[in-house]
Symmetry: C2
Subunit: 343 residues, 2 copies
């Protein structure tokens, strides 16, 4: 597998351009870095405006049987209907921020074939209960990854130049916590959070489930964390990220699930992280640890914990503004503005 190269010549040209614009050098803060980041990824001193695509991957989790979630598994399928009808948060955010949106069933437990307007690519009807068995077989794992890769390839062929993966899956903060512990070497106590809002009792059950799953996985010959502990939608997200990096298209990370998928992608090839921008840090406590392990700094902290790609979609206009400033501001010379005090 290959990962596209980052263009350091374009990066250098973009930095020089920033310093010529009619503002004190550095005064646009993170916006200057963002514009230069895209210049280096697009290989252009002045990057194109963003044409974002969001793909929400859905799957269920056998570990819900351990009482780890505030919502029952049936909500995953119910939310697919809601996505198809345009009533979920990510629908509103995609529309508001001019992103195209696809919703894909990779591993929902219920039969959702009657729902129109979503992509049907079910690999398996929910994962195994990771406290007792592997989440999926080797074949299912690579199938799920391929579903994600195909979605990225298709979006890029259709003109997208920035990709967001969203997640929907009751129980997936438990699987993601286990993945982050395994891939980034943290303890369950450090990583496990309250997900969509479990109470103290469910929180203890969640902590116990993650401990059990990690212990079980250590006794198996498989070395693949995603296969043992992950989710079908999380595997698809990792595949989506890998294809984006291979094709040289930037990735916006979202929340906790997205960070787990990103760690799995980076375990394949560390260079993939060079194509990732961390958009926000969520309320889920292990998120910032996972981002640290990825070497990424989040841009926002809006206390969100929804998933679906919502945090990444929200930030799109800030990135567009950064590129628009880089592209459209006058420079000192052409505007006839004096640069610094010469007296």
């Amino acid at each position: 597998m290959s990962v596209a190269k980052i263009d350091v010549v374009a990066l250098d040209a973009a930095r020089k351009r920033q310093d010529s614009l009619t503002k004190p050098q550095g005064s646009l803060g993170n916006l200057e870095d963002i514009a230069c980041w895209f210049a280096a990824r697009q290989g252009k001193e002045v990057p194109d405006m963003l044409r974002p695509h969001i793909c929400v991957f859905a799957g269920d989790h056998g570990v819900v049987a351990e009482g780890v979630s505030a919502f029952p598994s049936v909500v995953t399928a119910e939310m697919l209907k809601n996505f198809a009808a345009g009533g979920a948060a990510i629908n509103v955010l995609a529309k508001q921020n001019a992103a195209s949106l696809t919703v894909v069933d990779v591993g929902v437990q219920s039969d959702v074939l009657t729902i129109e307007g979503i992509e049907h690519a079910k690999v398996r009807a929910g994962t195994g209960n990771i406290t007792k068995e592997a989440a999926m077989t080797e074949w299912e794992y690579w199938q799920a990854v391929a579903v994600g890769e195909e979605q990225a390839e298709k979006a890029i062929a259709d003109g997208a130049n920035i990709l967001v993966a969203g997640d929907m899956g009751i129980g997936n903060t438990t699987s993601s916590a286990a993945l982050i512990c395994e891939l980034a070497l943290f303890t369950p106590e450090e990583v496990v959070g309250r997900g969509t809002g479990v109470d103290d009792e469910a929180y203890q059950l969640k902590l116990k489930a993650v401990r059990c799953a990690l212990q079980r996985a250590q006794r198996t010959p498989s070395k693949d964390a995603m296969r043992e502990l992950g989710g079908l939608e999380i595997a698809a997200m990792a595949g989506y990220y890998r294809a984006a990096a291979r094709l040289g298209v930037p990735i916006l990370l979202d929340g906790f699930i997205s960070a787990a998928a990103a760690l799995a992608a980076v375990a394949w090839d560390a260079r993939i992280s060079g194509w990732m921008l961390a958009t926000h840090v969520s309320q889920e406590k292990g998120h910032v640890l996972a981002l640290n392990a990825l070497g990424l700094e989040p841009l926002l902290d809006m206390n969100m914990r929804l998933g679906e790609g919502s945090g990444a979609a929200l930030i799109l206009p800030l990135l567009q503004s950064a590129i628009a400033l880089h592209r459209d501001m006058a420079n000192f010379e052409s505007a006839g503005v004096s640069d610094k005090n010469e007296g």
Copy 2:
């Protein structure tokens, strides 16, 4: 003077609506609070989308003679030309985020009457050097305030339902630092920062100028901090904020200068702060202290330090997204999604 009341009935209705939407309660974090904040200010369970207006007030500062700035005073007038030609950061951000924009000369030192496309309302050609004399006379002070009030009234009459004030004025971080020390009871060491990027020598001169100005102001009979230490554009911003609060239209604060103007407005009437939303915290070190004194929490930290209203303009789409989510998401009942685990 009066300040419009905040509608607690609409606030309560908006909170109830948030809890009915198809997401775990609280999972949209700050976005939920933002939508409810606007509901309470607009007096509607579902607030209207934002129609933003940005007004940039420009003025010069006599204290530049003390060597406090990295740029010469002439840059204020040069930047007015740049605003009129559409080449400054705020032009790009206003366009990108669908805000109308007005630029007003309240107190620029140079004659700028030949510049078309800006509003000419000069009260005085720059302030006095505040280390040696009052920034302005009593009459000039109230004239500058009136310029800001008129701009707010006009924007609201033209349909704006959210107002941003921006600033342009070489030397105005020095005046703003003095104002913040005086109004919020901090020391110059706590508040004075590097503005648009002064070196160590100029930083020491800036610190000294603020100390001198504060000592001089203590010996005058005038009790008005703005008149003694402020700026014509800062006084206009305070007037703009006061008129917005009187007319019941929300205000987005920007950076350091904006916070100084906000403190001056709040010194007139503490209730004005109820109409203010703090958008970002800048690199200027006293900014967070001033926001604390206002009782406000900034939403973003993008390491910006430009002024012009740029940080406030940048955040507009996040606020629009918060309102769109509040307005357009389906609720649990209508979408047929199960709310929490009943089993």
